[in-house]
C-alpha cells in the first residue's frame, strides 16, 4: 500500500487546538440501552421521514418506523425492541422541533427476523454484485436506501442519492474522508483503528456502485495509528487497482469536501456546484462503515460512534450508542461532569451546533458531543472590524469575510451577493481568528438565508407571472 502526500494546497486554513488526546486513545465502548429512546424523523437533509408506527405498537430492533418521504429523504429504523410510547415533537440538535418516536426498550434487544433472513442471503448477492456490478447496482443502492444511511460526517445527506449521480456526470474518483479535521472529535479515528478492514470493504463496495476507478482514503497526519491500521488492513485487498491512502497535512478544514477534493485531485468544484461536477464523490468513513454493515449484514443504520469529550467531562469516551439516546444519558455513561459547563456542542467546536440543553436525542449525524468550560469560551462581540485581513488569509474559499460581514451588518445584500457570500462553506476559519471577535459566520449565515429567501420569492413571483 502506497502512502501518498496531498499534491495541492488550497488557500487559507487554520490550526486550532486539536485536543484530540482526550479521546483518541479510548477504545469504542458500547453503551447499555437507556430507559428511553427518542428517534427523530429529521436526522437527515431533506424531507423528514413519515412515521409508520403509532403509540402502543411493539417494535423490533431494525424494524422500519419511519419511511422516506420523497427522493431526498431517508428511512428510520427502531434502534432496539420495545414499545412505542408516543409520536411527538422533540427538539433536534439544529433547534427546530421535529416529530420523533419515543420507544421504551424492553431490554431484550430482539432483531427483526426480516433482518436476519435477508442477512443470510447476502453472501450470494455480494458474489453476484462482484461479478456483474452493472446488473446488481440498483439492488445494492436499494439496500443502502432501505437501511436509511445518510452522510455521517455532519450534513446527513442521504447516501443513496449521493451514490446515484445522473448518467451525465460519470464518477472516476471516490474519496473516503477520514480527515476528521474538527478539533476534539475522534469517532472516525477510532473507527479506522478498530474496523479498518470493514471500512476498506465498504469503500470497495461503494467504488463498485459508482463505477469509479480511483479510490483514495484521506487521513490527516495527526492520526498515525489510523493510517497504520488502514495501511495494514489494505494488505488484505492486495489485488485492487488504484487504491491508496493520502496523508493530508494537519490543518482545518482539510475534511471539507471541496478542499479535500482539491488537495487530492487538484480539481476545483465549481462555485455552486457539487463534487460530482468534477467526477468525484466524497464519503465519510463512518458512512462507509454503515454501508458495509447494511450490505453485508443487512443491518440498517441504528447506531453510531460518538465522541463525548471536553475538559468538563469526567471520563471522555468514544461511545457506540443507539440513535435516539439522549445526550444526558450519554454523559452519565461517561461519568457525568467534573467542573462547570458553559457550552454544550453537538458536533465539533468549529462547525457544531451549540445546545440549550442536554435533554436532546442523538441522531445519525451526531459525531461528537463537546462540552466547554467557561474559561474555554470565546464570546462574540460587536466591536468594529480593524481590517487585519486574517479572515481573508484564512478563508479556504478565498472570500473576504470582513467585507461580507460589514455589508451584511449594513443589510447590503446585493453587495454581499456580488462578493460571493453564497459560496461560503461556514467552516468558521474567519471567526476563529477574528481579533475583534466579530460573529462573522453568523452574519454570513444570516445573509445567505436572506438572499436565498429573496431568490425563492423571485422564483415564485416569476412562476406566478407565467401562469
Amino acid at each position: 500500500m502506497k502512502l501518498l502526500k496531498a499534491k495541492h494546497k488550497s488557500h487559507g486554513g487554520v490550526h486550532p487546538k486539536y485536543r484530540k488526546n482526550l479521546v483518541q486513545d479510548m477504545a469504542i465502548e458500547e453503551m447499555p440501552l437507556p430507559q428511553l429512546l427518542r428517534v427523530s424523523m429529521a436526522q437527515h437533509l431533506g424531507a423528514p421521514a413519515r412515521p409508520v408506527v403509532k403509540k402502543g405498537d411493539t417494535v423490533l430492533r431494525g424494524q422500519l418506523i419511519g419511511e422516506a418521504a420523497g427522493f431526498i429523504s431517508a428511512a428510520v429504523h427502531a434502534p432496539t425492541s420495545g414499545t412505542v410510547k408516543a409520536v411527538t415533537p422533540c427538539p433536534t440538535p439544529a433547534g427546530p422541533q421535529a416529530p420523533a418516536i419515543e420507544i421504551e426498550p424492553d431490554g431484550e434487544d430482539r432483531w427483526d427476523p426480516e433482518v436476519e433472513k435477508s442477512a443470510a442471503a447476502r453472501d450470494g448477492l455480494i458474489a453476484e454484485f462482484q461479478k456483474s456490478p452493472g446488473a446488481k447496482k440498483d439492488v445494492v443502492l436499494g439496500i443502502i436506501a432501505d437501511a436509511g444511511i445518510v452522510g455521517m460526517g455532519g450534513a446527513g445527506f442521504p447516501t443513496h442519492v449521493k451514490l446515484s449521480p445522473p448518467p451525465k456526470k460519470p464518477i472516476d474518483t471516490l474519496i473516503i474522508n477520514g480527515a476528521e479535521c474538527e478539533p476534539y472529535l475522534s469517532s472516525d479515528n477510532r473507527l479506522m483503528i478498530e474496523h479498518a478492514e470493514r471500512i476498506w470493504s465498504g469503500a470497495l463496495l461503494v467504488r463498485k456502485v459508482l463505477g469509479a476507478g480511483t479510490l483514495r482514503v484521506a487521513i490527516e497526519e495527526n492520526k498515525p495509528e489510523a493510517i497504520a491500521a488502514m495501511e495494514k488492513a489494505a494488505g488484505d485487498f492486495g489485488g485492487e487497482a488504484d487504491v491508496a491512502i493520502v496523508v493530508l497535512k494537519t490543518e482545518y478544514p482539510q475534511g471539507a469536501e471541496k478542499q479535500q477534493i482539491y488537495a487530492i485531485t487538484g480539481r476545483e468544484v465549481p462555485a455552486g456546484g457539487l463534487p460530482m461536477d468534477v467526477g468525484t464523490v466524497v464519503q465519510n468513513v463512518g458512512t462507509t462503515y454503515a454501508v458495509w454493515d447494511a450490505v453485508v449484514n443487512a443491518r440498517p443504520l441504528i447506531q453510531r460512534v460518538t465522541s463525548l469529550t471536553g475538559s468538563p467531562v469526567s471520563t471522555p469516551r468514544n461511545v457506540l450508542a443507539r440513535v435516539g439516546t439522549s445526550y444526558a444519558d450519554m454523559l452519565a455513561f461517561c461519568g457525568g461532569t467534573a467542573g462547570d459547563v458553559a457550552k454544550a456542542i453537538s458536533g465539533g467546536p468549529m462547525m457544531g451546533l451549540a445546545q440549550a440543553s442536554l435533554d436532546i436525542p442523538t441522531t445519525k449525524t451526531t459525531s461528537g458531543i463537546v462540552l466547554l468550560t467557561p474559561a474555554e469560551l470565546s464570546v462574540y462581540g460587536s466591536t468594529p472590524c480593524i481590517s487585519c485581513g486574517r479572515c481573508v488569509d484564512g478563508c479556504p474559499m478565498n472570500l473576504m469575510p470582513c467585507e461580507l460581514s460589514q455589508m451584511l451588518e449594513a443589510e447590503d445584500y446585493d453587495a454581499a451577493e456580488e462578493y460571493n457570500v453564497l459560496d461560503c462553506i461556514e467552516c468558521g476559519c474567519c471567526a476563529f481568528q477574528c481579533p475583534a471577535h466579530r460573529p462573522l459566520v453568523q452574519h454570513i449565515r444570516q445573509g445567505k438565508a436572506r438572499i436565498m429567501a429573496k431568490r425563492r420569492a423571485e422564483r415564485q413571483a416569476a412562476a406566478k407571472d407565467e401562469s
Binding site: 462555485a271 440543553s357 469560551l377 470565546s378 478565498n398 459560496d423 468558521g428 475583534a436
Partner: protein, 324 residues
C-alpha cells in the same frame, strides 16, 4: 438543570473555538515592537525624546477617554490603540518640538482622525499621520527644526539628510554617513533615526504575523528602484538609492505606518499595490515636491485609495473562473 440565569448554557453560532487573539493583544504587540525605536530615540535624543513620547501617549489616551465619554460610549482606551497612536505620533516629531504642539497633534490625531469616525476600525486615515500632517502644515517652522543627537556635537540645530539635500543639492553620501543613518546617529524625527531599531521591532510584528512582508518590501523596493532609475539617469542631480532608503521617515513609514491594518488593504495583491503607490508618491514628493519628506503624505494619500484597492483586488473565489 435549574432555571437560574447563571446556569443556562451559552448558545451561539459556530465556530465555538477561537485562536485567542484580540485587538488589545495586537496593540500590545505593536507597542512591544515600537520599544526598540523608543529606546533608540531616548538614547540619541535623551530627555526630549522621553518628553515627547510621554506627552503624546498621555495626550492621546486622555483625548480618547474624553471623546468616548463625550459620545456616551464604552471607554475604548483598554484596547491600547491610543497608546500606539501616541507612540507613533511621537516618533514622527522632531525632538525640539514644544510640548504643547505635541498635545495639539495628539488631539487632532485622536479626536478628528479617529473618534469622529466612531473609533478604532472606522478611521479611513492613519491617525498618527493625520496628526503629523496637521502639525507640519500648521507649524512648519518648529516641525522642521532638528536638533542633533546627543551623541554628536552639542549643536542645537542640525539638518536632516533630506533637508541638506533640499538646501544644498546633491552631496556625497559616504559609507560612514550611511552607517550612522542605519544606526540612528543622525538628526531627524525621533523615529526616523534608527533604522536598526525599527527593523528589530518590525521583525517582532512579522513573527507574530500582525503585519505581512508585502507592504514594507514593495514600498521600500519601489523607492529603491525609483531612486536607482533617477540616479542612473543623472547621478549629478540625484542621490543614490541607499540614501533614500536609509534617510527620512521611510523605514518608520514603511514598517509601522503603512502597515497599519485599519487603513491598508486586506488582500496581498492589494498590499503590493499599496506599497508601490506609497513608494512612487514618496519619491515624487521627495524629488519634485515642496516638502523635503513625502512619506507621511504618500501614505495618507494611499490610505484614501485603500477601499478602492480592496475592491479591485478581490481574490478569485474557489471554484470560480478567473474572469468571473
Amino acid at each position: 438543570m435549574t432555571d437560574t440565569e447563571e446556569q443556562l448554557y451559552i448558545v451561539s453560532s459556530s465556530p465555538h473555538a477561537h485562536s485567542g487573539d484580540s485587538v488589545r493583544r495586537i496593540m500590545l504587540d505593536v507597542i512591544i515592537a515600537l520599544l526598540p525605536a523608543c529606546a533608540a530615540a531616548v538614547f540619541f535624543f535623551r530627555i526630549d525624546a522621553a518628553r515627547l513620547i510621554a506627552t503624546c501617549v498621555a495626550a492621546c489616551v486622555a483625548t480618547e477617554w474624553l471623546c468616548r465619554k463625550a459620545m456616551g460610549r464604552d471607554s475604548g482606551i483598554t484596547d491600547l490603540s491610543a497608546v500606539v497612536t501616541g507612540i507613533l505620533l511621537a516618533l514622527n516629531l522632531p525632538p525640539s518640538l514644544p510640548t504643547w504642539m505635541a498635545v495639539v497633534g495628539s488631539i487632532v490625531a485622536i479626536a478628528i482622525a479617529k473618534q469622529l469616525f466612531g473609533g478604532i476600525g472606522y478611521n479611513p486615515f492613519n491617525p498618527a499621520l493625520v496628526g503629523r500632517a496637521a502639525l507640519l502644515i500648521s507649524f512648519t517652522g518648529p516641525m522642521t527644526t532638528w536638533s542633533n543627537p546627543a551623541t554628536l556635537t552639542a549643536a542645537t540645530t542640525a539638518a536632516t539628510p533630506l533637508r541638506l539635500l533640499r538646501r544644498y543639492g546633491v552631496y556625497d553620501f559616504t559609507p560612514t554617513m550611511a552607517t550612522n543613518a542605519f544606526l540612528g546617529n543622525i538628526g531627524g524625527s525621533l523615529g526616523e533615526a534608527s533604522v536598526l531599531a525599527l527593523l528589530i521591532g518590525a521583525a517582532w510584528l512579522l513573527w507574530r504575523r500582525w503585519i505581512s512582508w508585502h507592504i514594507p518590501v514593495f514600498y521600500v523596493g519601489t523607492v529603491a528602484l525609483f531612486a536607482l532609475a533617477l540616479w542612473l539617469i543623472d547621478p549629478q542631480q540625484n542621490m543614490p538609492p541607499h540614501f533614500h532608503v536609509l534617510t527620512g521617515g521611510l523605514m518608520l513609514g514603511a514598517l509601522f505606518m503603512a502597515t497599519d491594518m485599519v487603513t491598508s488593504p486586506v488582500t496581498k495583491p492589494g498590499m503590493a499595490i499599496f506599497g508601490v503607490g506609497c513608494g512612487i508618491l514618496t519619491m515624487v514628493i521627495r524629488r519634485w515636491g515642496g516638502y523635503p519628506e513625502g512619506t507621511s503624505f504618500a501614505i495618507l494619500i494611499m490610505n484614501a485609495f485603500t477601499p478602492l484597492i480592496n475592491r479591485a483586488t478581490r481574490p478569485r473565489v474557489f471554484g470560480k473562473k478567473r474572469s468571473a
